[in-house]
Amino acid sequence: MNCKTAADLILTDHIDGNIEARASGELNEHLKSCPDCRLLAEEAKRAGAIFQGQARKDPPPEVWRNIRAEIEEARENGYLATFFEKMRFVLSNLKPAAVAIGAVVILLVFAATVRFTSMGNYAEIIQAREDVIDMISLNGDTAASESVPGYDLGTPAEIYFL
């Protein structure tokens, strides 16, 4: 076993008690002949021991009071926050397929909206043209309006020059 492999094992599986029997045997053999790796093994053990005496600590009592107050306040102001929370949860948990389906639906709705809007505009244009024709006919130049029925937008001046 070389020093690199030995160091890798010392700092992980060896110190954490996960090392397999065969690897452990090889490592012990290596440690007998390598003072640097022996030193590393010793230091790793002592560094780990620093943490062993750490007792769990209780948070101060005001932390629970603050949590309780925050929860109660949220409950009182509740429904709108709950709605946004739900939306955020749903959005954060959307699967790619659901996102794709959503995108397709949005595109279809957009396309349909554009189509209906365009049809509306076309009808308005036709109506405007008819209004112009009516206005011309109201001018009393029946010859001009009747000469080319429907789409003839001619005026007396145009007829003169033609």
Partner: protein, 188 residues
């Protein structure tokens, strides 16, 4: 890893505050201890603990018992504590000085030999953890202080087993290098 009865979780999900208090009593020492070791500030650890339990309360209805409750709380704790640590670090680099921040110190002075050794270990732990990155720190805290095994750490941090292993290795290398460089003593 600590666990709690399913009935208590379900009661808390239904809005029962005494059941939620039971959850708090069971897990708050773990949350607070982890938060202190990640943030190295008692104020930040208190803020993190508060934030974690508010998130837990709000998230209870979405907890579907697919993972263990303890794993879920550890995960929320790690994410919250690391975020608070990062935002404080950013603030500190932007500002000239910060008054009123209580750096973590061992609580009660204890003059017995065992007490002094414990204080020295707590001081050394804080010094060492301060000098490794939050990612490596979270692995070492879960392994050395919380006693989680590699697969539990992998589940909490949502990282592959090999990453857990390599982060622990790097964290330990960094710890040993720091102790050598500073000439710190392992014992009192």
């Amino acid at each position: 890893m600590k666990e709690i009865a399913k009935e208590i979780i379900e009661a808390a999900t239904g809005g029962d505050m005494s059941a939620f208090e039971e959850i708090y009593k069971t897990f708050s020492p773990m949350v607070y201890t982890v938060a202190i070791n990640i943030t190295a500030q008692t104020q930040d650890a208190e803020e993190a603990t508060q934030e974690v339990f508010v998130k837990v309360f709000r998230g209870l209805k979405y907890f579907k018992f697919k993972s263990s409750f303890g794993t879920w709380i550890y995960r929320i704790t790690m994410n919250t504590a690391i975020n608070i640590y990062r935002s404080r670090s950013r603030r500190q680099t932007e500002a000239v000085s910060y008054d009123g921040l209580k750096v973590f110190e061992p609580a009660a002075p204890d003059d017995s030999k065992a007490g002094r050794e414990r204080d020295h270990a707590a001081w050394l732990t804080a010094k060492i953890l301060e000098n490794i990155s939050p990612e490596h720190r979270s692995c070492i805290v879960l392994r050395e202080i919380e006693g989680l095994d590699y697969s539990e750490i992998s589940e909490v941090l949502k990282i592959p087993l090999n990453t857990v292993r390599s982060r622990l290795k790097r964290a330990r290398e960094a710890m040993i290098a720091y102790i050598r460089k500073e000439g710190l003593s392992y014992e009192l």
